[in-house]
Subunit: 410 residues, 2 copies
Amino acid sequence: MLNVTLSKRETKNIFCDKNIYACHDGAVKSPSTWSVAPTNASLPVAIEVLRRGPISRAAIARRLQLSAGSLTRLSAPLLEGGLLREVGEHNDGRVGRPTRLLDVDIDSKHFVGMKLREHEIIAARTNLRGEIQRHKSVSIGDQKPAEVVRQIAELAEELGAGASINGIGIGIGGLIRDREYVVDATFLGWSEVPLAKLVGEATGIPTLVDNDLVAFTEYEHWFGEGRDDDRFAVITLGAGTGFGLVANGAIVTGEDYGIGLVGHWPLDPAGPLCFAGHRGCATSVLNSDSIARHVSDALGHRVDYEQALDLAEAGDAAARRVTEDAGRGLGRLIAAVCNLTLPQRIIIAGEGVRLAYIVADAMREGIAKDRDPRASTPPIVLGTKNNVDWCRGAAVLAIQAFVHGTLPGV
Amino acid sequence: MLNVTLSKRETKNIFCDKNIYACHDGAVKSPSTWSVAPTNASLPVAIEVLRRGPISRAAIARRLQLSAGSLTRLSAPLLEGGLLREVGEHNDGRVGRPTRLLDVDIDSKHFVGMKLREHEIIAARTNLRGEIQRHKSVSIGDQKPAEVVRQIAELAEELGAGASINGIGIGIGGLIRDREYVVDATFLGWSEVPLAKLVGEATGIPTLVDNDLVAFTEYEHWFGEGRDDDRFAVITLGAGTGFGLVANGAIVTGEDYGIGLVGHWPLDPAGPLCFAGHRGCATSVLNSDSIARHVSDALGHRVDYEQALDLAEAGDAAARRVTEDAGRGLGRLIAAVCNLTLPQRIIIAGEGVRLAYIVADAMREGIAKDRDPRASTPPIVLGTKNNVDWCRGAAVLAIQAFVHGTLPGV
DNA sequence: TTTCAATAGTTCCGCATCAGAATAAATTGC
DNA sequence: GCAATTTATTCTGATGCGGAACTATTGAAA
């Protein structure tokens, strides 16, 4: 039930008449499954080790609410088959027998995660734990699906050099259906593009597509800062404002997810207008372009987002005013999220995350404004502005499917 | 594991020296457990029948993702023991053998649900499905816990006349811990009151306490409008604005739940000030007292909430302005909830719900204002303004605990 | 009318899975 | 060295499940 038997690949490359993917043809690949098939009962054990390893049997048993005996029973065949390994003992000076730690051979499988932007594809190769091994970005020349698929395939080929890729995950800031169809990605002018199938056919590698925020949130859930939480929220800053939510141990999505539902969230009734005519919405207050433009306007000369933040950091009055307004707006968004979803953690990330570092005080002020003083504010974790982080999220789409044995055939 | 053996009741009635609860002493009660103990595997079947009955075995099997054979196996001992009954056949003209419907004998057990307000206790007796059989309200004379507990016990006694009560659930608009302690209920001046234990001791009936919104949301989840949804939100209107959320099939709570986190949600940047100084917050825009006051101020004479709504319905300009502002504010709150939690349904209820009927257009306008036009708005269900509805929620606390065998001892 | 397809429900077998008891192993602290 | 503590293993008996083969009951087509 858990194995996916990949159908013999048909080399039906409809997007590239030059056979530039020759190396795929007939190449022997490691199968896109575990070295040993976990059973229904041992799969959660394997996942727990993958997500939290190295970890002891006793710790897994506690976490999965199983008896110690069951853990021995369930882990034995996984160790036997090479899926798990004992990686040493550990003892923190506590009384009792030391733990024997289990881990997955996380570098035995490889995945590629990509993020599609308007003019750029960011791609990275990761191991089973979503850790980045190599990465590369390319500019998108022609936005036509066929041409983008060709570039994606080329990137996957290049990143996979010397290693077989078990799956590709692609994150897009748009509306995606069934982890396969790009229903609507305005910035590319796409609609109803069966991207997963197209890339799968072009590369011979199982491929999944989803909204970039969904992917990023799944990464944080499985391997990132939200790993230990039952409820957490993700807010990303940058060209747009993104939001992801995990509640009751699973991501919260719906059919509208991907439209960008918090993009025009009202943050500042006295703020500037966005292109759509909303006063002080997230787009007008928080987006990096808006911040750069408002600072530029105040200064009378053109600065970009990073320069605007540099100025704010240096104490420039105009830059501080704009960024602190943004910080307060971010705080109010955080407060709203906390009031409605009671998260145990807030993760702020994205290319524009530096804002949150610089105007942390204004952010706290904004939180306090819309938050009951008796309420406790959960830990707020700030990520890096590294663009490649999006790729880890995208890769996790493929990793999760690989682990669950639900990678699509190609 | 599923049975709760009630310890022999100690008649330690510390709140009433007159032995007015004599009938409890030594009275033989039906035990606070099912007539037959469901096993780990059959409990979900029993719950499914309780929540959705009458229902066929095949339908339960589909819903619980079990085989038809398993349903026969699991339902047989429950039928044998009298927990379930066959209640007739059913056939909608479809081809195939007619279904044989199962149901629980829902009137075999009784529960009491109560809502504590500042000056009033609302109480109702329900059956196993939370359907109200009788109800009664009393004014609170003395707000001291001991005196309120005495009134609660008296009410339970009266409502239970002629039927043994299997559990009591109490809903309070405040911060509750462990379904037992009233950590903070400002309107009563209580803090750290072990209410569940006190009522349990005074009545001899297992008692649970929780936030009224949690209780109400659980009711909608088990028996109400949210029964078929994996995600839905509850918004209540009245003296305060309440919010409850179910995501991924379970209620979303946290330690701050009960403070009233949406009470000062910003709805209208040009709105009136609330007592705490927030401009256009939910308290100032939506609360029934605020609406009544703002209409009164405009008219120059005192009207109450219902009169204000009557005037709005009749087309009075001032009343319409105030109520439509409120409707738009409600719409913006709904939009915010939809944008963050992507519910499949919005349930609006509470004593003040009539507002939503009267200014439905303004509400829709408010939703549209903060909602991406491409996004679909989920069904919005309006409840009744019946105060007794709160009691069904409170009763569900006891019903759920009864069903899971986790009613506390007394 | 007969036959067929569809749906509901039962019985039974074999496999998967679990908790708990008994046991062993490896440590700290006394 | 000994007790207490924690980890891990090896059993056994019980529970729970799907799936196959079967019966039951209907509507629709032949």
